[in-house]
Every structure is written in structure tokens, then in C-alpha cells.
Symmetry: C2
Subunit: 632 residues, 2 copies
């Protein structure tokens, strides 16, 4: 995808990748093994962070903790990755946390069905575009007319791509068949899509009898601790818990570097809110004026991808965004991303399509960042409703709910079934319990209907799961209204979940802050804000004279003792002697923050209050003097 750098040049991924790799921001894990003879492993989708990547990641996490956990007073938890199978059976992940995959019928390679369709249709569209005359005077006859698509086909492909996330497996199978979609590497036919569970499985303990999964999200650990966290929060609602930790997804065909990996760092918030009261948020007023670029569901389903910039206050009022709490977090996500240096023009919020949402979600907006790989989901903000707490409560019989004292006692009148247990047992024997449960599980309107049927017809017919219908008369069951007084209201809170993929944010951020001078592609700059920059001060000695060494060492050690990451660059000291240079370094202001260090040279472009450092080829490495407030 063609993107431009912040200074307007075309973004060249090859040059960018070379800088990131050379400076060791991150690197393919187990790279030394990949080419070893007889290596049987699979290291795709696994990446190691080198020193600057590791520091950048730690700084992003630190800011995240300050922006959310500390500023909003969220109890933070750190739960285990290893999770017993029962938990994910209950949450639905064992049955439903899967992607659809196809197999190359000749080679056997697996590929994700949606990625396959996307890749092939995008290729056909771009081949088609290449056959079109750029203007009326362009009559290049060498263009391959076999790749021309009809106008109707172009529209069809574009519509499919706009709603690619909305197809299920069988629908994708039909598309693959109808459009003759083949494996892009081999042009072989592919098998129909089959589901593949994305969780890594292992077993725990010496007997190997207890299956465990590596969590695919941090959320379940937070939910299972809900009651303890509520107590920790003095039983006061609403509140949010937070967690930062690794999660694991066994991606079918990892690609795009850090953007689709099998092991990744997440930061997740679970905000618990009373479903009554329209999910209002006490601090919504503070953010309601914030204008966000929104791409809603309807726009996408009409085959369009144009964003509308709206204040979040308006968007919630018009129900484009469902409720205040969801809206509040979208605004907070927005300010967090800008604070770490994300380019505002490459950020949008996209609403999920109905079939695209996770099995637990009832509404979801993604913060997407534009990269050379297209728009990338970096933060998901889902309304998980009461789903998770409800299913875990049902399974464990532990009360994962809120008990709220009522200001005034409430008188509740309810239909209730009363059984003559003896008659029930005699009539239905082994089915007696199932009959009782079938009636007790009815809701109030259904019980009211049964009560009146029982009065009118003197009998009711009940359908049992996988059995024949049964008939009960008034000798066995009575359904009557009874009244009781409630002093406490019990409810299962709804959960709004902002979920951050730290690796994706980090990668997209690096693309956003990368630039170079128009005439000097090889000398790259990464203008990271001071707060996230891995190195705060670059010490550049003017001379390699031995006398300088202890001074440089002393300066560097003193700064590091103060907790200020520094780096010494003495590679070009000799050249620098006699040049006129600005001073380097930084100092602490009253708030204990580093102010911008003066620059060695003025950049012709680039925002002022940000840092950067050259990344250059081996030959041009010497002479690095381009520094700002934050360096790496």
C-alpha cells in the first residue's frame, strides 16, 4: 500500500526494514536455526526485540500504565498465561476461537481463507489498474488485455474486499469456487475452508491428564478475579481492572512481520458497568468535545471506506457509538496513541461488521493505524456485554456479580411453580428432574402463560430436550404468584474492553515516525517523542584523544545513575574535531522530565519537539550528528 512519510516522501519499506534490522529494534527469533541443516521447527510469527525495541516497548507500556492504570485508578492484575481447559470451554474459546483455513491441494501448505481471497482479488484489481490508460493520450498497446476486468467485476471485487471480515467459512468457500481463487504462490486449487483453533495446547502436571491452553487474551484471568477486585475496590461500581502480559495465537500463516505474530504483548482493560443507566461514564464530559475519525458499520456494508470526523459527544448522541463508556474509551485511546507519537492523519476508528465480531462481543470499534501493509487493527474496543461473567458463574456456581443495597426495599411479585414431588417422581421417574428444570428455567411471561393454561385446560405440555413431550396436570404442579421483599439488587455487570496490541502499535509507530531528507534516503531519522524514545541523550565526543575517555565515561555513568538512558557515539569523533556543533544532552526541569536537548544540526524538516537519530549504511555511519530530544 502506498503511504508517505511525515515529510511527504514515498515510504520505502525496504529502506525502513533495513534500518530497523540494523539498529536491532527487532529481529526474527531463532534466525540462526532457520538455515541449520535438518531444522524441523517453525519460527514464523516469532520475533525478538533488541535493545532499542525493548526500551521502546518498555516506555510505551510505562506510559500506558500511567495513562490508564494510574490516572484512572484501575486495579491492575497479573494473571497466568497457562489456563485450564475448562475455563476456555466455558468462555467458548475451545469451540469458537478459530480461523478458516484452506490447503493447497498439491503442496499441502495452509493459508487463511480470508487472506487468500484478499490477496488474489487485490492482485487482480491492481493488474487491472495497470491496463487502464492513465489519461486519454496514453495508448500503450503492450498492456496485457487478458487482465482487464469489466466495470461490474471491479465493483464486485471492491465490495467483497470492503466486507471481507463479514464472511463465514462456507460463504468464503462459495466465493473461492465461483471466482476460481487459487493459491497465490503456486496457482494450485485449494481445499474448501475448514476451521482451525488458534490456541496452543499443552498439559500440566506429571500425569499429563490435565490439558491447559496458553491464553489468547488476558481477559479471562481478570474476569475470574472479578469478585476479589470488586471487594478491593470497596464494592464500588463502576470500575475497571487492567492487565499487561503476553498472549498466544497459533496463526495459520503468519506474515507482515510484527503485525501478525504467534506470541505478543497485550495491555487490556475490563471496565465493569451497570447495564441499567445506558452505560453512562462519569468523566464523559471531559472528552465529549474530542473529534474522532469514525468509519461505521453501515458505511462499510455499503462497500465504502470513507471516515467521518465527529465529536465523540455527537457520535454517542446519534448512537453511531453505542454508549458513553465505549465513547469515553475511544477518546482516551485516541489521546494515548497521539501521546506516544502516532501520526493523527494515519489513525481511524472502524466499527466491526456483525459477523466479524468475536463470539462474545455485542459492539466493537477498532483503532486502526495506517501502515505500508494497509490499515492495521492496533486497539480493539469491544462491548462484551455480560457474556463472560455469566458463563463462568453458571459453570462454577460462584457469584461473579454485584450486590447493591437498595435505597428502598423492593417488593417483587413473581410467578413460581410448586411441585408435588411425590406425584412428580411417580409419574416421570428418571425424567422427573428434567421436567422440573424445564419449567423452572422458563421466564416470567412464559410462566404466566403456563399458569393460565393450567387454569383453563387443567394441564400443560412441556417440551424436553431430546425427549418426548410430557403433560402435567394440577395434581403435579401449581403455578402461582408470590410476593417477596428485596433489600439488595444483584446484577451481572457488562464489560467494555479496550484491548491494546503493543507490538502492532510499536511497529506502526515506527513507520509513522520514520523519515528522511528528499535527497538522502540512506540517512533515516526516527522522530520519536522524548517520552518513548529508547535513548534520551547521545554523547558525541569531539575528539578520540585518550584524555577525553574518562570524561565521557564519567558523564555517561552519571546520567545513567540518574536513570537517564544514554548512548556514546565515538565512531566519528575525529571528523568532528574543529566543526561547529551544538551541545548535546539534556537536563531535568522541575517536573523531573527531560527537556529537549539542543540539536547538533538543524533538520530541514521534522517536528520540533521530537527526537531522532540517523540510521545509515555501514559506510555512511560515521559522522552521525543528527540528534534531538529523544534518541535511540
Amino acid at each position: 500500500m502506498a503511504t508517505t512519510t511525515r515529510t511527504g516522501q514515498a515510504f520505502e519499506r525496504t529502506a525502513f526494514d533495513a534500518v530497523i534490522k540494523r539498529r536491532l529494534f527487532f529481529t526474527e527469533a531463532f534466525e540462526v536455526y532457520r538455515n541449520a541443516s535438518n531444522f524441523t521447527g517453525d519460527n514464523r510469527g516469532l520475533y525478538d526485540y533488541g535493545p532499542p525495541g525493548c526500551a521502546l516497548q518498555a516506555n510505551i507500556v510505562d506510559l500506558w500504565r500511567k495513562h490508564f492504570v494510574l490516572e484512572e485508578n484501575m486495579p491492575e492484575v497479573d494473571c497466568t498465561v497457562l489456563t485450564p481447559e475448562d475455563v476456555f470451554k466455558t468462555s467458548g474459546h475451545v469451540d469458537r476461537f478459530e480461523d478458516w483455513m484452506c490447503r493447497d491441494v498439491v503442496k499441502g501448505d495452509h493459508i487463511r481463507a480470508d487472506h487468500l481471497i484478499e490477496a488474489v482479488l487485490q492482485k487482480r484489481l491492481s493488474n487491472h489498474a495497470a491496463t487502464q490508460p492513465a489519461d486519454s493520450r496514453d495508448y500503450d498497446t503492450k498492456k496485457d488485455t487478458s487482465k482487464v476486468l469489466s466495470d461490474a467485476t471491479v465493483v464486485e471485487y471492491e465490495e467483497i474486499l470492503a466486507k471481507i471480515d463479514n464472511y463465514d467459512g462456507p460463504e468464503m468457500g462459495t466465493l473461492i469456487e465461483k471466482l476460481d481463487i487459487r493459491h497465490p504462490d503456486t496457482n494450485n486449487k485449494v481445499s474448501p475452508p475448514v476451521p482451525f483453533n488458534l490456541m496452543f495446547k499443552s498439559s500440566i502436571g506429571p500425569s499429563a491428564a490435565a490439558p491447559v491452553y496458553l491464553r489468547p487474551e488476558t481477559a479471562q484471568g481478570q474476569f475470574l478475579n472479578f469478585r476479589k477486585l470488586l471487594e478491593y475496590n470497596n464494592n464500588s461500581m463502576p470500575f475497571a481492572s487492567a492487565s499487561i502480559g503476553k498472549s498466544y495465537r497459533n496463526e495459520i500463516s503468519p506474515r507482515s512481520g510484527l503485525l501478525r505474530v504467534r506470541e505478543f504483548l497485550m495491555a487490556e482493560i475490563e471496565h465493569y458497568v451497570d447495564p441499567e443507566g445506558a452505560k453512562r461514564h462519569g468523566r464523559f464530559d471531559e472528552v465529549s468535545h474530542v473529534r474522532l475519525p469514525l468509519l461505521d458499520r453501515e458505511t462499510q456494508l455499503s462497500g465504502n471506506t470513507k471516515v467521518q470526523v465527529r465529536s465523540i459527544g455527537e457520535a454517542v448522541k446519534e448512537r453511531i457509538v453505542d454508549n458513553e463508556t465505549l465513547g469515553y474509551f475511544l477518546a482516551r485511546i485516541h489521546s494515548f496513541l497521539l501521546s506516544i507519537g502516532v501520526d493523527e492523519t494515519k489513525l481511524r476508528f472502524r466499527q466491526h461488521l456483525p459477523n466479524e465480531m468475536a463470539h462474545y462481543a455485542c459492539d466493537c470499534w477498532d483503532a486502526e493505524l495506517l501502515t505500508s501493509y494497509s490499515w492495521i487493527e492496533c486497539v480493539g474496543c469491544a462491548d462484551r456485554s455480560a457474556y463472560d461473567l455469566t458463563v463462568h458463574m453458571r459453570r462454577t456456581e460462584e457469584k461473579l456479580l454485584v450486590r447493591e443495597p437498595l435505597a428502598e426495599p423492593k417488593i417483587v411479585t413473581e410467578w413460581q411453580a410448586k411441585f408435588d414431588k411425590k406425584a412428580l417422581g411417580k409419574t416421570f421417574r428418571s425424567a422427573a428432574k428434567a421436567v422440573e428444570e424445564a419449567i423452572n428455567s422458563k421466564d416470567q411471561p412464559a410462566l404466566a402463560v403456563l399458569a393460565s393454561t393450567l387454569v383453563d385446560a387443567e394441564r400443560i405440555t412441556i417440551t424436553l430436550p431430546s425427549r418426548e413431550d410430557v403433560v402435567l396436570d394440577r395434581a403435579i404442579v401449581k403455578i402461582e404468584q408470590s410476593t417477596r421483599v428485596e433489600n439488595v439488587r444483584e446484577y451481572v455487570p457488562n464489560v467494555i474492553e479496550p484491548s491494546f496490541g503493543i507490538g502492532r502499535i510499536l511497529y506502526s509507530l515506527l513507520e509513522h515516525v520514520y523519515w528522511h531528507r528528499p535527497d538522502d534516503v540512506a540517512r533515516a531519522v526516527l522522530s520519536l517523542p522524548l517520552s518513548v524514545a529508547p535513548t534520551k541523550v547521545l554523547i558525541v565526543p569531539l575528539s578520540t584523544q585518550l584524555d577525553f575517555a574518562p570524561i565521557v565515561r564519567h558523564l555517561s555513568q552519571s546520567l545513567r545513575k540518574l536513570g537517564i538512558p544514554t548512548r556514546v557515539d565515538d565512531s566519528s569523533a575525529e571528523r568532528r574535531t574543529g566543526h561547529t556543533l551544538g551541545h548535546h544532552g539534556g537536563f531535568r526541569d522541575g517536573q523531573g522530565r527531560l527537556r529537549d536537548a539542543a540539536r547538533a544540526r538543524q533538520h530541514p524538516a521534522g517536528p520540533r519537539r521530537s527526537g531522532g537519530c540517523c540510521g545509515r549504511g555501514e559506510e555512511s555511519r560515521r559522522g552521525c550528528g543528527d540528534v534531538g530530544g529523544g534518541l535511540w
Copy 2:
């Protein structure tokens, strides 16, 4: 084990556990599932950190990063947990990373063999002690004389316990048989010890053909990136890489809370040093005066556990500690532990016994902390020699070594075998390659012997692995000296590895800082140093009047915006009205650090420059006013 609190009272674990649990420092993971019907999982050895535990952990990690990574300028990496099987086959973990386990022959429960022996012998010794008269006037005839041990048996048991880590599986099997050791819960006999690999296994990718393990240590990822890290460090030696991350060990029988868990956070340093030059360290002078409590190998093998306090300079000089680099890190570990609040009187450094060391180690010292569970290994400091880099280099053929330009070219004279390939192939056919390799893999002295044999006897005999010996004459091979000039010295660095178990440190630290007034066991204090305390300021409103609420909220929000964790305690405001109280809170000094906040009340005991907060039963919770500089 009987330990005392810092104020001299007996440490009562039940009271301590209750505080830790109530304040949600950490909690059993998946506790709500444990009692669910039909739960088939195993949640033992899995713990979640609640808000204060999570903050304490983050603060310890943050100080660790400042103390080691930043102050010593170590490149930090963050590598994946998922590791292809090949890597751990090479490192030896697939074959040797195991514990010995026994099975209850009736119930089938598994137990670690060394833990079994320890538990049973300790029980026998304590039963025996209970039968002994406290002094000569004590003639309690009710004591169970069947539990009396002979003096020789007491000595034997104590010696076994002192070197319990030195036995291998068969030796433990012999002890179990000889001493009739049975399962402590059931008194059933146990099966002989069998090895059990402690790594969790899974598979990666859709075909399930590629086995992976969860790493049991962070080290291998660092080793595999050695060449990149050396380059990042401008090819300058010595240097250390560092990593903080989760590791996993499938413990046979987890116990003792956080002290033996299956998922845990580690912080590891791999210091790469030239094996020539006695592993000196450039900053050893800065620490050589530091006095450390050392328990060396010889003392333990003599059945003794008395520490000697020595300066690390002396200890290295006398070769109690093998080398300066190992000694430097022991001193740095010591200062780190004290800086986070560890009790100096409950810290010792114990040298590993020969059979106790990991398969890769050539010397190892553990920093052990005394807890109510006995002395606990919290930091290991091993000399892994060149083991790991060598085996990975051999397997991958990637040069994981240092190339050092020589100040002066070096002339090397070496014995070399030269083969007549044609004659070799004709004589040995399919074995020719093996013959060539067998000779080429000989070292210089061996080649010198072969050369002289070949001159004297005109033939040599070579032993081939799993084949018959072969005889070569001078028509097939010549062994002669040749000379070449070397400009670069290549060597595989040795690795000194300080490895920190963060969870164990955190737990032991909590035991060390826990105390209570002599007459008030229920009101606990945790005197954590300010730097690691989860909460820095407690805001205690004097009144619950509604007018106070916005002031408290404003104060709390302002502090949190500055990055200072606060907690509001309004549970007892009414009671407090009218009392004379000190002021609460803290302020920033010039270095941006919080000074001690004034105390609400004076404690009768406890160190001055540390914080604490009451942990009390539900009834006595109200009225909390005991605060210091650091709170939780």
C-alpha cells in the same frame, strides 16, 4: 521453620498469609474453578498477582532494570517464550532438564524424590527432638519413645539433608529403600525414582508437525542473539545482555505458595567474558570491600551450614569464589537485594554442590533468603562456561564467537593431516569420510603422537565410532607440521549468569518486611522501602462530610497525574474527626523522589525511613492510620 520478624516476634505464617490474601497481593489462580463440579484441571503452582502485588512486582522490576541494565549499560532483549524443539535438544534441556519423581504405589500421586526424603527425615528429626528432655529436670513419661533416634542416626539424617541436592536418582532410590521412606500423606510405599522432564510441550503451526517448548529460562534466546548483540555493542568485550520475562517449569508437586510455581517471572543477565585473563572484571575494585555471608561447597559436604562473612575481594583471592566476574555480580546482587528492602540478616550466598549444578554450569552460587519455609534460592549466579554458545554453534554452523584483531600477527605452527583422497576412497569406500573426520577431530598432542607413530611404525590405527578399527599407512595419509599467520583471534566467550526469580524475591521480601506490635498480632505492618512500595501516598480524609469529597478527589487525581500512586482511605473518617493526627502525603525533592511522608502515629518499633500500612481483620479495619513513606 521458626523465623522471627524484624521486631523480634515469632513469625506466624497463618496471620501473614491472611494479610497477603486479604490485601490481594497474590491469589491462587482459577480459584473459582477449583471447587466447581467436574473440574478436571490442575491449578496448583499457578498464582495471580492482585493490585498491590502487581505494583510491587513492577517496582522491583523497574529497580532491577535501573540497577543492572541502565547503570551497567547492558543491552536488553525480549525474546519469545515459544522455542522450537531443536534449540532445547541442542542445549541439553530435552534430555536433561528433569527432576526425579516417585509414585505412591497405591494412590498413584507423584512426588519429587528429594522433597519426599527431606520431608520424611525432617519429620523424624523433629519427632525425635520432641522426645528429648528440655533440661535434666524434665522427665515427662508421656513422650513417645518409639520416635527416639540413636545419636548416629541423627547425625546420618542431618548429613543427608545437608547434601540432599547432591544425590542422583538411583542414589535417592537406595536411600528410600534403606531408610524405608514412604509417602508422607498416605504412609504407602513409593516406586523407585524416575526422571520427569520439566518443560511444557506444544506444537506450532496448522500441521502440528513442529514441536515447541515453553522456555524454562530466558537464557537461550539471549545466546542465539549473541552475534547481533556483540555487533550492537560495537564488537567490544566484555559485555552483558539482559532479559526480563516469563519462564515455565512443569513442577511435579508444586508447594510453598509463590516459592515453587509453574509459571514465573525471571530477570536474567548473561555476561560474556574472555576465558583468558582469569575472568577479571573492570569494576571489581568498586565492590571488593563488600562483605558477604558465604556458605561454600566444602562446608556443606562436611555436613555443616555455617556461613563465613568475608569481603568479596578476599574470597576471590582465596579462590572460594572462582573469579572476579562471579564475585562482582555476587556483590551487585547483594546491593540490589538490600536496596529493595531484604533483611541483611536473612541473606546468604550458598555454593552449589557438584551434582546439584545444572548440566551446563561449572560453578554456581545462590543468593538465598531465609523464610518460614527455610532458606530459599532467589538468585542463582552460575558460570556456564562456553557450553551454550559452543553447542549452538556446532549445531547451526553460525559463528557465535568473538573475532578479536590481534595487536601483532601471530605465527601458528600446527600438525595437519593430508589425505590422498583417491587412495582413501578406494581403501575405505563408504567409511572414508568417517575415517577422515576421526583424524581431523584429533587435538594437537594427539596428532603429534600419530605423526610420530606414522614415521616409526609406518602405519596408524584409528578407532571409529560404532565400527571396527581401521589401519592407514603413509600412502593414504601424511601428518606434517605447517605454519600460518593469524591476524584475528577467535574465541567462544564464557558466560557468567546472574538469574533472578522475581516471584521468590517478592515473597521472601514480604516475609522480611512484615511485623506487628507485641500485643497486637492482628494489626500487621509491611515496612516496604519507598522505592518498591505499591502506594506512595495514603489520603485519609478527616471527615466524611460531603464538602470534603471534591477536595479529596482533586488531591488524589493531581497526585496520580504526576505519576504518584495514591490510595484514599475514607473508611474511618468519622472516627478520626477531632483526633490529633499527623499530616499525610508526600512531596517531591530535587531528584524527583518522594520524601517520607509524616506518620499518623509513631510506631513503637520499625525502621524510620520505610513505609507500611496496617492489614487487619474486617472488624478492626476501621481506624487505619499507620502510614509511612511507602504504603500499599
